[in-house]
């Protein structure tokens, strides 16, 4: 999004600058290069519609401020949207011999995050795991960031992540759609002390 925004800003600035230069050097046939930037006609229009021109300026200023606020807020938003909501498990709808209990079971989204993170960190090669579950609670999207030891074996890491996912689905009933697993390997890391 930012790339598109700054490409458009770049285009607008380039176009404005080039048009300004052309006008200043008299290369535009419909613009007099001796014209002032704020011509009297424009001031006349402003004064003729005096209360409205001021009202319009106030509204425009407020609009620009709101746009700025939205842009600023978008920069602090994390990737993938808000974290998934708490999981709520209802009793099985299938008829069983035993009487079904009333109500359901709630699992906090934070608890699921922490469980997944701890299980990932159970491997000696992983120093730090960060997980992010987003989207619908029963089929969330999952982003995983792993900081690993300098001597970590990438193949073994992949096997570990697969096993963690399997355990997570078995215990919680949630089948995340793993959209990304990114590994960061330090360049000069001290050996892990056992």
């Amino acid at each position: 999004m930012n790339r598109t925004l700054w490409t458009i800003i770049g285009l607008v600035l380039l176009a404005a600058g080039v048009v300004g230069l052309l006008a200043g050097y008299g290369a535009l046939p419909f613009v007099d290069r001796q014209q002032v930037l704020l011509p009297p006609e424009l001031i006349d229009v402003w004064n003729r519609y005096r209360p409205w021109s001021l009202a319009l300026t106030i509204v425009a200023g407020l609009l620009v401020a709101v746009l700025g606020l939205l842009l600023l807020r978008a920069q602090f938003r994390r990737r993938g949207g808000p974290p998934m909501a708490d999981l709520y498990l209802l009793p099985s709808p299938e008829p069983t011999e035993a009487p079904q209990p009333e109500g359901g079971t709630g699992v906090a989204s934070r608890a699921l995050h922490r469980a997944l993170q701890r299980d990932l960190e159970s491997d000696q090669q992983i120093r730090d795991a960060a997980v992010r579950l987003t989207g619908p609670p029963h089929h969330p999207r999952l982003l995983v960031r792993l900081a690993v030891t300098a001597d970590a074996d990438v193949g073994r890491l992949a096997g570990h992540v697969d096993r963690v996912m399997h355990r997570f689905t078995t215990t919680s009933g949630v089948q995340p759609d793993v959209s990304e697993v990114v590994v960061r390997i330090p360049a000069h890391a001290p050996a892990r002390v056992e």
Partner: protein, 176 residues
């Protein structure tokens, strides 16, 4: 570049917020018969009524605006290096490694193979990337360096057909 863009956008957002509020408040002050509090509106008004399109300050401003626009366009439109690259380990999705980690590991491997001042760059797309290594070493070390880099990429489970290019400069003098 992604981080730079994020910082630039946050700054732009802040500037728009402050400038928009300033314009609204100053216009409201003028509407209620007051005078602008912060913005030197009278001075700007006077200079804008006198400044002509052919004047130096206007031309300089236009030129700087065009240059900044051109610079932004070049920075945004040139290909960016990938943030992370895919390996052949793991399934749906394959494991990715941060680009900088791959570059560091390649540089360490090259240094172990005898390259001085190794600098590695990973370019391309996350699913199809290539490695470039520059450094100082004798041409006869080239095969050993290439083998070391390939071995390191194998350890990182890089796709087996990942292209590697090595550019070596000769050292100033041979050290016995």
């Amino acid at each position: 570049m992604r981080t730079t863009n994020r910082i630039l956008s946050a700054l732009l957002g802040l500037v728009l917020l402050v400038a928009g509020l300033a314009v609204a408040i100053e216009a409201a002050l003028i509407a209620w018969g007051g005078r602008p509090a912060v913005v030197p509106a009278d001075r700007w008004y006077a200079s804008l009524r006198e400044l002509r399109l052919a004047d130096g300050p206007f031309l300089v401003t236009a030129a700087i605006t065009a240059l900044v626009g051109l610079l932004l366009l070049i920075l945004q439109l040139r290909p960016w290096p990938p943030e992370r690259v895919q390996t052949s380990a793991g399934e749906s999705p394959p494991l990715s490694i941060a680009r900088r980690s791959v570059e560091h590991r390649v540089e360490l491997a090259a240094a172990r193979a005898g390259v001085e001042h190794p600098a590695s760059a990973v370019r391309g797309k996350p699913g199809r990337w290539r490695v470039r290594l520059r450094g100082v070493a004798w041409p006869d070390q080239r095969d050993a360096v290439l083998a070391a880099v390939r071995a390191e990429l194998d350890r990182l489970y890089a796709p087996p057909d990942t292209p590697v290019s090595i550019i070596l400069r000769r050292p100033a003098r041979r050290v016995a």
